[in-house]
């Protein structure tokens, strides 16, 4: 069996397996899987509104995925994407309403502010890791909780005890009447261009710059890098800051594109944690992350249509979608199975030939 055949077959088989197991779950809980999947399909591609909302859902996943992937490539686990994302969200929302700047420039400044906020939030675990060897997983997880409550307190302070910050000025918005009107009032915004740019930027940093090479080298082997004359702790901090900046940008998309403000959160958005899965689905490659985010965001947004169009409860929808992603992620198992089949065949062939 050729490897090219495998490369095509594995994703297809894994998606089909996921769909089948998902169908079994739906059928065994008394729902019609065909209706369910139709609703899912409809929810992703059904009409321009759904397509617009699907793209909108994908945008923050791209950033969260890039943030996690960037850290992975440099040998670190950034579990704090969630916290960095909501810090970025807050920063963008604040700059959006508190400053008065010309249209366009205002959005750019707000986006940069979000990147800085996310970067700063990731700087702390980076610094602790580089100087004191504190494991970044612990620090980033804890920083998530700190971010959640800091953001809630900040929202309260900015709105005099209210539930959300004032709306951002129109000059800072990246949402667009035009995009909204061609998609039947979906909340699609220009952020998708920023997302694609971010993918290219990450690829460029990692593959085309000296910094990127150093970052990867430190990720592969700290000691060797140090021996080669690289500044290890500086690179560790920089890797975390860049990762955090990507996460912060994801928050900016929510602030400037989707919501126009930030409201108090009783729980995490989950985007940052899903970003871990997105990054792994995309094999930590920038363009892979884009595909992973498309799969994740598509299923997520399509899933919201299943209760509406097929009457399937949210809980079952969550399980079905998790199963599909699970099978896509476990493509390795299928690869193993296929290669075993191929080996058996080859073995039989040789046996036959010997006869």
């Amino acid at each position: 069996m050729s490897s090219r055949f495998n490369a095509i077959m594995i994703p297809i088989i894994s998606i089909i397996l996921g769909l089948i197991v998902g169908a079994i779950v739906m059928a065994s809980t008394g729902f019609n899987p065909v209706d369910g999947y139709l609703a899912l399909w409809e929810g992703i591609f059904g009409d321009t509104y759904n397509i617009g909302e699907t793209v909108r859902t994908i945008i923050p996943y791209v950033f969260a995925g890039l943030a996690v992937a960037f850290a992975f490539r440099t040998g670190m686990f950034n579990i704090g994407v969630e916290g960095q994302l909501i810090m970025g969200w807050l920063a963008a929302a604040y700059v959006g309403y508190a400053f008065n700047l010309p249209t366009g420039l205002h959005a750019v400044v707000a986006i940069l502010a979000a990147a800085v906020a996310g970067g700063l939030w990731a700087f702390i675990p980076g610094l602790l890791k580089a100087k004191l060897q504190v494991h970044e997983v612990i620090v980033t997880i804890m920083m998530n909780y700190i971010a959640l409550h800091v953001v809630n307190a900040a929202i309260s302070a900015m709105s005099n005890g209210g539930e959300k910050t004032p709306d951002i000025h129109d000059s800072a918005r990246i949402s667009s009447e035009f995009l909204s009107s061609i998609t039947q009032y979906s909340r699609l915004h220009w952020g998708f261009i920023v997302a694609i740019l971010a993918v290219i930027i990450m690829w460029f940093i990692l593959e085309k710059t000296k910094t990127g090479y150093e970052l990867k080298a430190v990720g592969f082997n700290k000691n060797a890098s140090e021996y080669a004359g690289m500044n290890v702790s500086r690179n560790i901090i920089m890797a975390m800051v860049i990762s955090g900046a990507f996460a912060g940008l994801g928050g900016a998309m929510e602030a400037l594109g989707t919501f126009g403000n930030i409201s108090r959160m009783t729980a995490f958005t989950g985007i940052g944690f899903d970003g871990i899965a997105v990054a792994l689905l995309g094999a930590n490659q920038p363009f892979g992350v884009l595909l992973g985010a498309i799969l994740f965001g598509g299923l997520k947004n399509g899933g919201t249509n299943m209760p509406s169009a097929a009457g399937i409860p949210d809980e079952i929808v969550t399980i079905v979608i998790a199963l599909i992603i699970f099978f896509v992620a476990s493509g390795y198992i299928i690869q193993l199975a296929l290669s075993k089949i191929a080996k058996n065949k080859a073995a039989k062939k040789t046996v036959k030939e010997e006869k």
């Binding site: 139709l38 919201t304 509406s308 039989k348």
Partner: protein, 354 residues
Amino acid sequence: MKKRNLGLALTAVLASSTLLAACGSDDAKKGDTKKEDKDNFTVAMVTDTGGIDDKSFNQSTWDGIQEYGKENGLTKGDGGIDYLQSNQDSEFTTNLQKLVRRDFDLIFAVGYKLHDSVSQVAKQQKDSKFAIIDEIVEGQDNVASIMFKANEASFLAGVAAALQTKTDKVGFIGGIKSEVIDGFQAGFEAGVKAANPKVKVDVQYAGSFGDAAKGQTIAKRMYDSGADIIFHAAGGTGTGLFTEAKERKKKDPNADVWAIGVDRDQYDEGKVGDKNIVLTSVLKRVDIAAKDVSNLGKDGKFPGGKTITYGLKDDGVGLADSHGAITSKTQKKIDEYKEKIIKGEITVPEKPGK
């Protein structure tokens, strides 16, 4: 072995083709159901993140809509009544849009969190009618705002607590500090003060409407410090209050621990064996309001652009049956105060005093 691979590939092709083929037929099917039910006044709702079975507003609204559906022979689904749950804040807008596209005549949005989404979607979808519960959307002709004078019912709860307490100390647990919850606190405090100025009210906010663990911690502290009746206006956080009260009651069946429920009659959640820790509940009759507004819409009298406030006067708020926990003497007092509020002799404050 080759055959097996071929089979697998065939199955894959077959599966994907049936999937795609089925997609095509779906649009036609949807169009049909829409046409059939043009005569009915259809009603749907979007929940906040609490879910449809939150034992609170979402559930009460759905109860009211179901009642309306029953009276008008409407069933769940397109062309009848339906609800959509929001799992995240970002889903409010999409859920509202989805229901608009499914041609529901009136769409309820439950809770203050949906304010922006309702306002935005209503501007875009001018032909649809919306009603928001417990929040005001101003100046939009296709949105009706439904409010409750929770402070009036909380006042009565305060009276009940002040007259029933044996320790002269009662508690109030709030969800997140906001105008709506301010009303509960202000009314409760005023009621306690009116009935017995000696009784102290211990007030604490949990900072969340969904944190049962936090609710339990606060309840534990309040009971430990001598409070015997705690009133909560904290949604899911209040579940913790019930857990704590029930645990205490289980340990000592004669203990004087009471909770006052909120939004709907929470009596069923307070059972401990054959006893119950629920003194009463402050009711916001969201169900009555939802049914009322649905009927107004059906009769062509949809109160678009207006705010309807339901108070003690129109049974939009009130106290739940205490199942004997409140003595008849106290009950008499409560009824007296209720009369006074309805007549306008007492004005219940909406903001807590300092």
